[in-house]
């Protein structure tokens, strides 16, 4: 939004003996930039703010925690299946491994995977969708059909097959990241494409063309920046989605493999823990997964509300 010419914008509400200058009297509401508006609206969303705090705490726990908690996640002690207590606040598992450090490492791993997947899939998806929507016609149809192809097959099946094929490489995380990226990019592409379709009708695009801007410039300098709100929201929600999907894949044995760890893997290895009488091994990593997904979902929702220009929240 263009800012007002007269910037003597003050909150002068006073009626004094000498009338204030007309300039400041005319503008009695503060001018705000878009970024300020978004931040302000986000701050008003209490659940999102609280979730952001909790999420930051979890991140600190995962990455700073190991510096403070000296027990190694691969150290097999003699205390097998101890309940949460003293030296092992989260208890230990069948190999005597301390669950607290295992959870820290697992959280690190899960978060890193999720963030990488989110960044890559959203970037690729956004550009793909923007290009597709911008060119329209046959290009658009074919591109979107290809994207649909990815959505047609249950990703579980694809993951299982790819894993089967690349058995040797499966121990590296790259395969998992590739599979998860393949799952999430079409969603981003669709949303951004829809936005671009409506944006490209607007006059400022016509103006850019009239000034001789090339296609690439229009897409990257004019269209995509205006979809920034959606991109941010999508990438946030993809992080949550990735964590949950990774859990599912680990359960089927096709996600993270030893020696890597993740929260999903922890839950999978301990799935009989409840009947076995050591429920903490199953609950605690699960609670962490829920916590991360929940806080991110709330933050994403808060961001979505903050970016939406039509939202009018009335304090009744």
């Amino acid at each position: 939004m263009p800012s007002r010419v007269n910037t003597s914008a003050g909150d002068t509400l006073g009626g004094t003996a000498t009338p204030p200058s007309r300039g400041s009297r005319e503008f009695t509401v503060k001018a705000r930039s878009q970024r300020q508006i978004v931040f302000r609206r986000f701050r008003q969303h209490k659940a999102a703010m609280a979730s952001l705090v909790v999420f930051v705490l979890v991140v600190l726990f995962a990455f700073i925690g190991p510096l403070l908690w000296s027990t190694s996640p691969s150290f097999m002690s003699n205390d097998i299946f101890t309940a949460p207590d003293g030296p092992h606040p989260f208890g230990t598992d069948s190999n005597g491994i301390d669950l607290l450090s295992a959870v820290m490492k697992g959280t690190q791993s899960s978060l890193i995977i999720a963030v990488v997947v989110s960044v890559v899939s959203t970037s690729f998806g956004a550009i793909y969708g923007a290009v597709s929507g911008f060119y329209g016609g046959w290009t658009d149809t074919i591109m979107m059909r290809i994207a649909d192809l990815f959505l047609t097959f249950p990703i579980i099946a694809i993951a299982i097959m790819l894993d089967n094929r690349f058995q040797a490489e499966a121990s590296s995380l790259w395969l998992l990241i590739a599979v998860l990226t393949a799952l999430f990019w079409p969603g981003a592409a669709r949303v951004i494409r829809a936005q671009v379709l409506s944006l490209k009708e607007k006059e400022f695009i016509e103006a850019a063309r009239a000034l001789g801007a090339r296609d690439r410039r229009i897409i990257f300098r004019h269209l995509l920046p205006n979809t920034l709100g959606s991109i941010i929201v999508i990438s946030t929600l993809t992080v949550a989605g990735t964590i949950l999907t990774e859990t599912a894949l680990s359960f089927l044995g096709f996600g993270v493999q030893f020696p890597n760890t993740s929260l999903g893997l922890l839950v999978t290895t301990n799935q009989t823990a409840i009947e076995g009488g050591h429920p903490w091994l199953f609950y605690i990593p699960g609670v962490f997964i829920i916590l991360i997904a929940l806080t991110i979902n709330f933050v994403g929702d808060g961001l979505r509300d903050a970016f939406d220009p039509q939202q009018t929240r009335v304090r009744a």
Partner: protein, 327 residues
């Protein structure tokens, strides 16, 4: 309307054919029927291995194999031959599909009905306590790992069963090994086995759809035609349902159809927890038994199912929204 349907149908076919080629490539490269034979002890001779390769058709070029498979399917109605003994792919797949469909349809019904009720109510009573409560619960459901929750649910069910001394919740398989006779008792038996898996799977769908419905309803509630309907002097009830809901349901129908693929993935996981012998087991088995034709058949059927659901969504949209019919 008819023209529109036929056109959409014809558009779907090339997509389907293209997909089959892609998946054939994927399957051919990742599922090798030779796998169990390559690691046999004592090792098989080169001649034996070669004759196996011929038997499995691996000596033919890739495109030839694809063509053979495609013609076999279209002209002779066969899914190919399984590497497993006495295994008729079509028949087994049919059983598996029927079992999984029970789960999927049950889930869609429950999740959809709940989602519409909650979505509409929270939109009308926006920012009320009910709205906040259901939103919070909805978020929780969206953040639950399906399998984690399924295990939990199973444990609770077993505990309830034990404490009440009944066998109300059946946690294993999709039906009892010795099912009762008669239609109604069989239905009841099936239902008892169905409860937990449906609850597990429906939670996630319900959460997503109810939020979607709420957003859609809110948009409709603010529209001009709602205002005009009120200005005509119509009762609030009529305005809400005849004018509001009628429009607000349209986007949800498309969304449900689109979510079907994801639902199938969820079904695979859920089935595994509850030991159902459905599509999930079929697929995992086929991979483990290195049975490429079965895997192909599975992927084809799921692809067709999803394409059909998408087609239904499009048609439903056209039925509900007259503006689309011109497109």
């Amino acid at each position: 309307m008819l023209v529109y349907s036929v056109r959409r149908l014809l558009q779907s076919i090339p997509i389907l054919v293209a997909s089959t080629f892609v998946i054939f490539l994927m399957v051919a490269s990742s599922v090798d029927p030779m796998t169990p034979y390559l690691t046999k002890k004592p090792p098989l001779s080169a001649a034996q291995l070669d004759s196996l390769r011929v038997k499995f058709g691996l000596t033919k070029p890739l495109l030839q194999r694809y063509w053979d498979w495609l013609t076999g399917l279209v002209l002779h109605g066969t899914f190919g031959s399984s590497t497993q003994t006495n295994f008729h792919i079509g028949q087994q797949l049919g059983y598996a599909m029927e079992v999984t469909l029970r789960l999927v349809i049950g889930t869609i019904l429950i999740a959809l009905i709940l989602a519409v009720i909650v979505g509409v109510t929270t939109a009308v009573r926006q920012y009320s306590k009910f709205d906040y409560a259901t939103t919070a619960i909805g978020f929780l459901f969206l953040s639950l790992p399906t399998f984690w929750f399924a295990v939990l649910l199973k444990e609770w069910a077993i505990q309830i069963n034990e404490s009440t001394g009944t066998h109300f919740f059946d946690t294993l398989w999709e039906s009892s090994p010795n099912p009762p006779s008669g239609f109604l008792p069989q239905l009841g038996d099936g239902a008892q086995h169905l409860i937990l898996p449906v609850v597990t799977l429906a939670l996630l769908s319900y959460a997503a759809w109810s939020r979607f419905q709420r957003a859609s309803m809110l948009e409709v509630l603010g529209s001009d035609y709602m205002r005009l309907a009120r200005a005509k002097g119509l009762s609030p009830f009529r305005v809400l349902f005849r004018h509001g809901l009628r429009n607000a349901l349209i986007p949800l129908t498309t969304q449900v159809a689109l979510d079907t693929a994801a639902l199938l993935s969820g079904a695979v996981i859920t089935e595994t927890i509850y030991s159902w012998r459905g599509m999930g087991l079929f697929f995992i088995n086929s991979i483990e038994m290195a049975d490429p034709d079965s895997v192909m058949a599975w992927l084809l059927v799921t692809a067709v199912f999803v394409v059909v659901m998408n087609l239904i969504a499009d048609l439903l949209y056209a039925v509900l929204d007259p503006r689309i019919r011109l497109a």
